[in-house]
């Protein structure tokens, strides 16, 4: 039981999904490029057994802060190249066959390279695109220590997305799958797949200042296969559904995005900590 808890206490596969959340909108022009800094936070001290809450008498918990540096280059509107570099700061309290143990780690995580291939169609007051994105996650994060940031594996991701936009409405659908490779020290993180849906409105903008806002609602569905018992990262098997608001403001070539994801449904394999709600802030610029 305790070993099981130690192994599965902390979960979800890395936060880097296959799609590019803000940079999906831009740059869509040839030789355009963009950079973005995104801060992401999640954590909880709620213990789950399957779908049910469980008493957490020993005070187990896990909190993870990740700061992403993201870049995108657009060759032309149908081909982009993206890179996402995380800096992870994580801590947890776990059971290791004795009193609860505090563990923490910080450092560079796994770099994700993506190649979004897009097919646009422009109509009078509407633009839409299908995107197919192969991605590669490289094991640049440390896989050593008692709370490794990475499992040390090379992973492959694929996503299929569709977005449509009018002057007043925006919608995005993205389905992704990550195939996890074999990691170092015998670690094997489970595969994952998910669906993201963003529906929103564009309630205000100014042609004079080239500024405006988007208000959107997000629905995120996640499934993670269980990792093997050698895995000591935050990975764990689970199904989750998040939902929450997204606020986006832009002016000229600058964009700000704030997102809150409320954990509406969660089922963990065996027993483990809840992932909790998620909050993120990002600032980006395109050129």
């Amino acid at each position: 039981m305790r070993r099981l808890l130690a192994v599965s206490a902390l979960f979800i596969c890395t936060l880097s999904h296959a799609h590019q959340p803000v940079m999906d909108m831009a740059p869509r022009w040839a030789n355009g490029y963009g950079i973005q800094i995104r801060y992401e936070w999640y954590g909880s001290n709620d213990l789950k057994r399957g779908r049910d809450d469980s008493a957490n008498l020993q005070g187990f918990e896990r909190f993870v802060n990740t700061t992403w540096l993201e870049g995108v280059y657009t060759f032309d509107r149908s081909v982009r190249l993206t890179a996402k570099i995380p800096f992870v700061d994580q801590r947890r309290v776990v059971d290791q066959n004795g009193p609860p143990v505090n563990q923490s780690a910080s450092g560079l995580g796994d770099i994700v390279i993506g190649l979004p291939l897009k097919r646009y169609s422009n109509h009078q007051a509407m633009t839409q695109n299908w995107s197919f994105t192969p991605s590669l996650r490289m094991p640049t994060g440390t896989s050593s220590g008692d709370f490794p940031i990475s499992d040390g594996s090379w992973d492959l991701g694929l996503s299929l997305g569709f977005s449509r936009e009018t002057p007043t409405f925006y919608q995005l659908y993205d389905l992704y799958y990550w195939k996890e490779g074999s990691g170092r020290h015998g670690m094997q993180t489970g595969d994952s797949f998910g669906l993201d849906v963003n529906l929103g409105i564009h309630p205000w903008h100014s042609n004079e200042t080239n500024s405006g806002i988007f208000l959107m609602w997000d629905l995120s569905v996640r499934h993670n296969d269980a990792p093997n018992q050698q895995n000591l990262t935050t990975a764990a098997g689970a199904d989750r559904i998040y939902t929450g608001p997204i606020f986006v403001a832009y002016r000229q070539n600058l964009m700000f995005r704030a997102e809150f994801k409320f954990l509406a449904y969660e089922r963990v394999d065996n027993i483990g900590l809840s992932r909790g709600n998620q909050f993120s802030l990002s600032v980006g610029a395109t050129f």
Partner: protein, 110 residues
């Protein structure tokens, strides 16, 4: 009073002269000004654009899918170059109009 009328007349002439150098392009898919940065960037680099007006000589109106450009006095726009700048910005140019001195649009004949 005469001076005021004279000043108003001169201002009207000046205003009309500026309007006469404006052109409007219908652009399909142009629904987000943040995403249209490339259109503004590409058009503003064209040699006949008067960058002193609008945003570097370009105004994007996403409600009507229109891009207004300000052309330097005495110059004619290179429509092929203009359309290529818009396509390279990710959108589809459809038609060009000239803004007449009374503000009305007329079809531009190359």
């Amino acid at each position: 009073m005469k001076i005021k009328i004279f000043v108003a007349f001169i201002l009207t002439l000046a205003s009309n002269a500026v309007i006469a150098d404006d052109y409007v392009v219908e652009v399909h898919g142009l629904v987000c000004s943040f995403c249209a940065q490339g259109v503004i960037k590409n058009i503003s680099k064209l040699p006949f654009i008067d960058q002193s007006r609008f945003t570097k000589g370009v105004k994007v109106e996403i409600e009507d899918q229109k891009v207004t450009i300000s052309v330097k006095a005495g110059e004619r726009p290179d429509i092929d170059g203009l359309f290529e700048a818009i396509r390279s910005g990710g959108y589809e140019p459809i038609e060009v109009w000239v803004v007449q001195s009374d503000g009305q649009l007329s079809t531009y004949v190359r």
